[in-house]
């Protein structure tokens, strides 16, 4: 997974590689998503692993702030909040204990934060030329399929699938059975994130700002 995320991040800032019609639609989708300074939503994340019968399911709420980062508040199966910022990650336990870490201390988590921010913001520029892009629908209801062009990335990632309308509503990450980090055989796992009841706002509220508190936002 870490290599997968690393591979995804290598794509950042690369020009989009899509057919002209798809590129136009993508640009409209990106512009539509980007207009929200803050988005709040409920999420359900399901990770289905090939090795196990039962998936790992977590539910909670997220706040995506273009300026501050992502609040990922897991409520079930147990309460824990992550504040994913540009400079640091903060983990807040159910008892309020706050643990702050620099990105260099938790690079894996930092990568997750960057990918989440790119996906939740539909940052099309950061979804790079290594993917072939297929877009269906229009800016009112759309689906984007991202398939890796490079064999190296395709070893780990089968595809990324986003869908939504005004907001991103679903993200699916299909992994491939490439070699694991220590040379072991990987597995074809799949992660699905569903976002519901999304609402936009001009700015985080006071509680959210307090949670974002220790995390430096963009000026």
């Amino acid at each position: 997974m870490r290599r997968l995320i690393l591979s995804l991040l290598l794509l950042a800032a690369a020009p989009l590689h899509a057919a002209p019609a798809d590129a136009d639609t993508l640009a409209r989708i990106g512009a539509q998503i980007e207009q929200h300074a803050v988005v709040r939503a409920e999420f359900t994340q399901s990770k289905q692993m090939a090795a196990l019968k039962r998936p790992l399911v977590t539910t909670g709420r997220l706040v995506f702030s273009r300026r501050h980062g992502v609040l990922w508040q897991i409520e079930q199966p147990y309460r824990i909040t992550y504040v994913l910022g540009e400079e640091r990650i903060v983990e807040i336990a159910a008892d309020g204990t706050r643990r702050e870490r620099g990105l260099r201390d938790v690079p894996g988590m930092a990568q997750v934060g960057r990918v989440f921010r790119a996906l939740l913001g539909a940052n099309t520029a950061a979804l790079g030329e290594t993917f072939t892009v297929v877009v269906r629908g229009d800016s009112g209801k759309w689906e984007i399929d991202l398939k890796p062009r490079q064999a190296q990335l395709a070893q780990f990632l089968s595809g990324l699938y986003l869908s939504g309308g005004r907001f991103v509503e679903s993200i699916r990450i299909d992994e491939n059975g490439g070699a694991g980090e220590a040379g072991q055989q990987g597995s074809k796992d799949s992660t699905q994130i569903r976002l519901r009841n999304a609402q936009s706002a001009e700015a985080p509220n006071a509680d959210e700002l307090q949670l974002f508190g220790g995390v430096a936002g963009k000026p």
């Binding site: 997974m1 870490r2 995320i5 359900t44 994340q45 399901s46 990770k47 289905q48 692993m49 090795a51 196990l52 019968k53 039962r54 998936p55 790992l56 399911v57 977590t58 539910t59 990922w72 897991i74 079930q76 199966p77 147990y78 824990i80 992550y82 870490r101 201390d105 938790v106 690079p107 894996g108 988590m109 990568q111 997750v112 689906e143 399929d145 699938y161 869908s163 509503e169 679903s170 699916r172 694991g180 980090e181 220590a182 040379g183 072991q184 055989q185 990987g186 597995s187 796992d189 799949s190 992660t191 699905q192 569903r194």
Partner: protein, 196 residues
Amino acid sequence: MKRLHILLFPLLLALGACGEGDGEAPCAPLIGGGSYCLQPTTALAPFDVQQKVEATFRGRRETMIAEIESDAEGMRFVGLTPFGQKLLQVAYDNRAASAATLPDRRISPALLIALLQIALWPADAVRAGLEEPLTLDENAGRRRILNRGEATISIDYRGAQPPYRGLRIAVPAADLELEIETLEALDTIAADGKES
């Protein structure tokens, strides 16, 4: 994530990882001497469980979610971050222990399976797996692995039967404590592929 890897790696080496690869003989050397040989998964009724694991190793604490499945075919154990990033994945098919994901390939998958069995398997099965000079002492919600009378692994249980409501596992020689709480797993959402 790296920090969790940094925690897990010396932790598992300290516990006695033996460095064998996939398909190794299903015995694992434990810290403080002696070995445990893996027992058949038929020793316990099939179960699957998700647990929150708080590991404190040399004063540092990290949390992960563990998923364990055991049935007549074998057992599977996956450790994940709350985000769903896989940290480790090992399996035992009643012949050999193997790993699909590990923080470091020098860590023995048999050791991880051994620790699970020592904690969860019936006392008689654990005794059958312990090699001399290790013995098992079980008394009123507490299980201890003894090496010539000295406790090398202590397990305190909350709840009546596997997989238990909670466990506290202490390995003093490794300065390791695991506080484990069984979670109520959520139902899956429909994995219906692409949204339509």
